[in-house]
Amino acid sequence: MTNMLDQVFVLLKHRIVGLVPMPVQPILGAVLSVVAILAVFPGLFAISVLLERKGLGRMQNRIGPNRVGPLGVLQPVADGIKALIKEDLVPYSADHVVHFLAPVVLVVVVFMGYAVLPMGRNMTFVPMDAGLLFYFAMGASAELSIFMAGWSSRNKYSLLGAMRAVAQMISYEVPLLLSSVVIVMMTGSLSLDKIVEVQNQYTWGLPHWFVFTPMGFAAFVMFAIAATAETNRSPFDLPEGESELVAGYFTEYSGFKFAEFFLGEYVAMLSISGLGATLFLGGWSAPLEILNVVPSWFWFFAKIMVWICFYIWMRGTFPRLRQDQLMNFAWKFVLPMTLLNLLVAGLWRFMGEGWLRWVVCSAILLAAYVLGGRIGMRSKKFGPRSYRYAE
């Protein structure tokens, strides 16, 4: 029964595909998967927007949207209708073709990333051997569409926002990749299915998630930081800092194209949360062995939503960084830490089984963190700031 529930979507797909003649079957299977992804993730997008607005409200001692529907749950629907019926304005001197293509490219590229995410047992759209590489290739392509949006608008705020976004995404892609490489070193595979399989084992009922190993935890923290910057979320949201750049690279977009950017941003957030959950939090595997009765896809989506809630929490708490702080943080703190983490992962591999490697690896990482933090706090770059004219 549990197995049945676990595989319900897979069985359903097989049943539907079985209805058509043989040559059409692969095409129909692909279409079904695409439709499922296109239906589920925009739905999750709506839910996370609502959660964000309500949650941020509560963190600021407000109520949040509560007018549309009971407790305001239909707010995303109202927002969607509003975005769709708004006039689509294109600035007179904008580069029309590029201006049109930018959001389309963004949304397409962002959705492509889902192709390799294992969303449950046997629930990967394309079980690819180089899945992780594919995911990062798609993530890297999103940058060009952001540049296209900013440049084609012929607006200096848009261009500034786009250049900030691109510089930030390039800078944080390096730690993002390097912190994932730790996991690749530990599993010996670029395939995301394989990575989840390795984590889906239990000792004394506890899972073998990579976040519970010293360098896995360090990589997890680094990955979370880099992922936040990669998706232009607060506190790294200065590409779209409302108070400085109006809205950054999508200032000149309205109506449906704006909605596309909004969707692209949130869907990218969901997808990078999915990747983070897959790499560090065991993907679709249950947090305790006895909880395996709950379907695997439930755990995947639950982990995504927890990650999203953490994003919202951070957005409600942290102030925005300055551009130079952002760059200094990426190149002078996160990148050296990820490089050290790679070394530690190698050490872990060569020290063999036993408790000694736990102690040594944790000690190295902790010492580096404390030392790096001390030195950083003492330098003017990240330490507590003093204002010359305030006070």
């Binding site: 929490w313 708490t317 942290f318 404390v370």
Partner: protein, 205 residues
Amino acid sequence: MLGEGLLKGLGETARNFAGSFVSKERLTTVQYPEEREPLPEASRAFPFLVYDGADWEAGLRCVACQICEKECPPKCIYIEKSKDKKPDYVGKPQIYPAKFDIDISVCMSCQICVEVCPFEAIKMDNQFELATDDRFGGLLYDRKELARSNEYYHKIHPTEAAEVDARLAEEKAKAEEKAKAVAAAAAAKAAPAMAAKPAEGAQPQ
């Protein structure tokens, strides 16, 4: 320690988040159209015209002196004087406004008209929900729409209205006294000269 402040901040927002479900006093939001807070007494939005008594047309305090029209910075007041006269609160015959229009869409709520009015005839209302779908006529108020009774004035600004009433009563008393004195003087002057007509001029009302 690096990151300590971040954790502290996260704790603070978490406390806010959880607290907003538990304690009512954290959520200070007032759900406006359904529930509203009482307006403070000094709140003011747009001017209105005060009248005494029951009949708004007869009781208007305004005497169409046009000071407010001249002083209004955005020039949103338009007054037309009447041809005939009617008695004011003191009893003196005065002209009254045949037309008194205020364009609320132009008014900037500066209250200068109230300050310059020598007759306490124009005061500030606290009604602010004046939105209308008529762009041109809907916000151009004539004297009928502007007229509010003195009781209404007492209701929205009790302290201020009481002061105004006291001042008016004092003025009225003074005017009566003066009139009486004038009458007495006239009577005293007239008495020796014309004893046959003692009452003339002694009753101005």
